[in-house]
């Protein structure tokens, strides 16, 4: 019924994308570590090109409950960044940022919400700063917004947006973790397909 043929990236393009995403992730991890005053580890980014219908599966399944900080990207590179924290991690993170004992926060208050948004802004901003330097383009993040809900519901408008043009999504995923407090989260970058071309061109692998 639907054409399931997905565009492919060459091994060289994938490597190059991984490389620049890693640098961005490193930058973001450093900023995050400084913010928490704890050591935050990040994984090597994984890159998936998947059918739009399958994207929620790559985010832990549609009904996974997360705190999601969404940032829309404008400028030369269009796309979306979503930072997700499992609910318990979002609470623990709020405790750390407010200097409380972990386990205190059981519900997100206005203060907690703005701290999580700020975390999103700093992590996303550090990633994008590194990325825009490497690809020598302007990337403008909009003000982040936060919601606590099922991840499938949180992202479906991003998929709706993409589905006007294409049937697939490019998902760049980075997992980060702070060992002592078990705070973990995921960073997802979903560039628009045209923007991916711009990035590939800027790093000189558009014809590989």
């Amino acid at each position: 019924m639907v054409d399931k043929e997905l565009p492919k990236l060459s091994p060289k393009q994938l490597d190059a994308l991984k490389e620049i995403s890693s640098i961005g992730a490193g930058n973001a991890a450093t900023a995050f570590s400084q913010m928490l005053n704890r050591s935050v580890m990040m994984t090597v980014p994984s890159i998936h090109i998947v059918s739009i219908n399958d994207v929620p599966q790559y985010m832990g399944g549609p009904e996974t409950l997360v705190a999601g900080v969404y940032t829309r990207l404008l400028g030369d590179v269009f796309g979306s960044v979503l930072l997700t924290f499992p609910r318990e991690s979002a609470f623990a993170l709020t405790d750390i940022l407010m200097g409380k004992t972990i386990g205190t926060t059981r519900i997100l208050t206005g203060m907690g919400r703005s701290l999580l948004k700020e975390t999103g802004m700093i992590v996303t901003g550090s990633f994008l700063t590194a990325l825009s330097k490497m690809v020598k383009t302007t990337i403008i993040p909009r003000v982040p917004t936060l919601t606590l809900d099922m991840v499938g519901a949180i992202i479906d408008f991003i998929l709706i947006d993409l589905s006007q043009e294409v049937e697939f999504a490019i998902v760049i995923e980075i997992r980060f973790e702070e060992k002592d407090s078990h705070v973990s989260g995921h960073f997802f970058l979903l560039p628009n397909p045209d923007s991916l071309k711009i990035i590939l061109k800027a790093i000189g692998v558009d014809n590989d």
Binding site: V2, T147, M150, G152, A153, I155, D156, D161
Partner: protein
Amino acid sequence: MDDPIKVGIADLKVSTAPNKIVTNALGSCVAIVLYDAVHRIGGLAHIMLPSTAFSKIRSNPAKFADTAVPEMISMMKQLGATKTTTSAKIIGGAQMFANVLVEPLGNIGQRNVQAAKEALAKESINIVAEDTGGDCGKSVEVNLENGEVTVRSIKYGINKL
């Protein structure tokens, strides 16, 4: 009983009693549920966009409100349903983030709900219940035994339609 039949994003399924059809985590997407109470045949479509005019790729009728409704009716007909005994329920169409609009669609959730209503009106199918709008995600289960729709959300718990 067998596992419920799963409907993904931009997907639709029809079946008969005593089966159940489910779809998970609707945000701005809309679930259109049709149920023929006499023949106990029903269907669920999880649509993304109001109409084919909004996308360059139009091959999948389940993706759009305007094409999903007729498609579902014809599939239900093949199972023995009739339009005159069929009614509809619609769920979803939220705006998950305040102030985030999908260009050029604006409030896409609202647009999808509106389009679903128009598509149903065009087929002269009555909407007997709806749980639409708002700012939270919803999961839907349709019981084809009696047409009952269970909507689950983290904000409001369980709502039976």
